[in-house]
């Protein structure tokens, strides 16, 4: 049977996206991790509404809560990047605009995550 695929392409088994199922899988792994983390986040935010900054500081300074908030930030922003990447892939078909937007999204997500993590460490150290 004739095929346009090279033997190397065939043996790599990564299809036309050249990346296999990695993106799909990471989106699912982060989604599963975010189920308990989102429930904890909702419990935390609701519990801190209407309190003082002292309460919020003390709660988030607790090692477990700092770790959970750090986990929520990392997994949700990773999931955000993967999701926004799909939106760009679906609607932007010009190579230049696509690369520009993907880089912009990647840098924005990293900047947002770094800011969150810095604030969490600062709260824990206060």
């Amino acid at each position: 049977m004739s095929t346009a695929q090279t033997p190397l392409h065939k043996v790599q088994g990564m299809g036309s996206s050249h990346s296999g199922t990695g993106h799909f899988w990471h989106e699912r792994v982060t989604a599963v991790a975010l189920i308990p983390l989102s429930l904890w986040f909702a419990y935390t935010v609701l519990g801190l509404i209407g309190t003082s900054e002292v309460t919020a500081l003390q709660f988030l300074a607790h090692p477990w809560n700092a770790l959970l908030m750090g986990g929520f930030v990392c997994f949700s922003l990773w999931h955000t990047y993967l999701g926004l990447q799909v939106v760009v892939d679906d609607y932007i078909h010009t190579a230049g605009a696509k690369i520009f937007l993907l880089l912009l999204i990647r840098f924005s997500v990293i900047a947002t995550g770094a800011t969150c993590l810095f604030a969490i460490v600062r709260i824990a150290a206060l």
Binding site: R28, A31, V32, L34, I35, S38, A42, T44, L46, G47, L48, I49, G50, T51, S52, E53, T55, A56, L57, F59, L60, M69, V73, S76, L77, T80, G83, L84, V87, V109, T112, T115, C116, A119, I120, R122, I123, L126
Partner: protein
């Protein structure tokens, strides 16, 4: 190449999908809403960063956050983010169920779409109702 059958047909064939002429099925609405709430939550991550930084800045930071968050526009944005998170959470569980092979039946998919829409709106309203009636802030 000379008798490519696609050339004359292509001009008369309907193109798909025509979002403006189709009746929108509820499953399609659910799918589009999942994407829209996802993009909205990406903006919400910036609000989360601002909230955490404001807490780390002590009393002045806390007040500066609430000076903006407690305005009508701030509350509308927070309600939108609350609903988006609940919707994306519930519909995300549907996506994970699909990955396991459940929920593809037409009637089931339509029913679950309606359930997710209804539950997310009820839960978002419940969150704001509980907060306004003083049931938040239990970590004091």
């Amino acid at each position: 190449m000379a008798d490519n059958p696609q050339t004359p047909l292509a001009t008369t064939r309907p193109l798909s999908p025509h979002m403006t002429v189709y009746r929108w099925p509820v499953t399609m609405m659910a799918s589009i809403t999942h994407r829209v709430t996802g993009v909205g939550l990406a903006m919400g991550a910036v609000v989360l960063a601002w909230w955490l930084v404001s807490i780390s800045n002590g009393p002045e930071g806390w007040q500066s956050f609430h000076a903006i968050a407690d305005t009508p526009i701030g509350l509308i944005v927070l309600f939108g983010l609350t609903w988006s998170l609940i919707y994306h959470f519930l519909n995300g569980i549907r996506h994970l169920a699909w990955d396991l092979g459940y929920g593809f039946d037409k009637q089931v998919a339509e029913r679950n779409s309606v359930i997710v829409f209804a539950l997310s709106i009820i839960a978002a309203l419940a969150v704001f109702a509980l907060t306004w009636t003083g049931h938040g802030g239990y970590l004091q």
